[in-house]
Symmetry: C2
């Protein structure tokens, strides 16, 4: 970030008056460009038979690994709205957002995940530019070793545990350390 | 947002390839400047005697009204870290962050509130540039009609209800409609 997005002049990194952290400050127009953590919204879509809708990533990072629909929250939407939008965009699926089941801080990438469970409406879903494959899976079919991100793995665990005991609640988790990138041999269970 | 913060050239508002919303796109270097919702972190600091630490706002908006410590989440922190930081900055207080007690979507300002309860450490606290007055208050002393924001009001209600029943959980709420700005006569209970 080198230029002011209001006036186009160069910005400096310095601590503004009444602040305590360095910000990108424009010496020409005075604009301050803040960088903020991003919210990721996601949803675990449950079909009538109890299976959940999973997507195989067709994009980097973690191309080829599995997730439920999730992505950056957009301006003007709630976490539930955003989660349902992601299901449409990534899986062609209409999903009614229900309880917030997980809030996961990921400070090493400055992200907060807000994960809902949802009810899959109808039977239509399918691949998209972001998902090479979209499938309904029972708990036993979830590819636990091929899940794209730790946040997704933990959210799925919360979902299935809560479903088993018959009560959903919002789980909180801080993932404070960046996981070591999984090695291919580990991901495949050592079969390579 | 008129200029690219990477190269300083003018940006256009258009839908990038593989996207579905208008973004600020630089025709010169290709950079896309996304606008994202912001996370607000806050904390209800509880003293040993059960009173909670409240701050009278010394800044706009809602100058003179009451809140607990809360503010924009910063890069690289968890919601709990950030909530504790706000307590130091706004109330000179050391607070240990505990459970997440509220997640509140406020889509009309593109914000998500993440509110923790916390344990006030020691007995030191006091006014700051942001808070003209900082006070410990029992539930009966909370100025419910002079609370700065609906998110703060709801979070306090959740906190006291959960404390009464002896179990804290994470409450979710969507505030979908902008409240009508309170009139002075209403705030003071009609005494003016
Ligand atoms: Zn400027
Ligand atoms: Zn550019």
């Amino acid at each position: 970030m080198k230029f002011c997005n209001v006036c186009g002049h160069g910005v400096d990194l310095r601590v503004p008056p009444d602040d305590h952290l360095e910000r990108h400050v424009c010496g020409h127009c005075g604009n301050i460009q803040y960088l903020n953590p991003k919210a990721i919204v996601g949803i675990v879509p449950e079909a009538e038979d109890g299976r959940v809708l999973m997507c195989r990533r067709n994009i980097e990072p973690r191309l080829g690994l599995w997730t439920f629909p999730a992505g950056f929250m957009e301006l003007g939407e709630t976490s539930g709205d955003g989660a349902a939008r992601e299901a449409r965009e990534e899986a062609q699926a209409e999903v009614e957002p229900l309880e917030l089941i997980a809030v996961i801080n990921v400070p090493y990438v400055s992200q907060v995940y807000l994960i809902h469970r949802g009810r899959l409406r109808g039977t239509h879903f399918g691949p998209t530019a972001e998902s090479s494959e979209v499938r309904l899976m029972s708990e036993g079919e979830i590819p636990w070793d091929d899940i794209a991100f730790p946040t997704i793995w933990h959210s799925l665990k919360f979902f299935f545990e809560d479903r088993r005991r018959g009560r959903y609640e919002t789980h909180s988790l801080d993932l404070k350390y960046r996981p070591r990138p999984p090695q291919r041999a580990e991901i495949s269970g050592g079969n390579i």
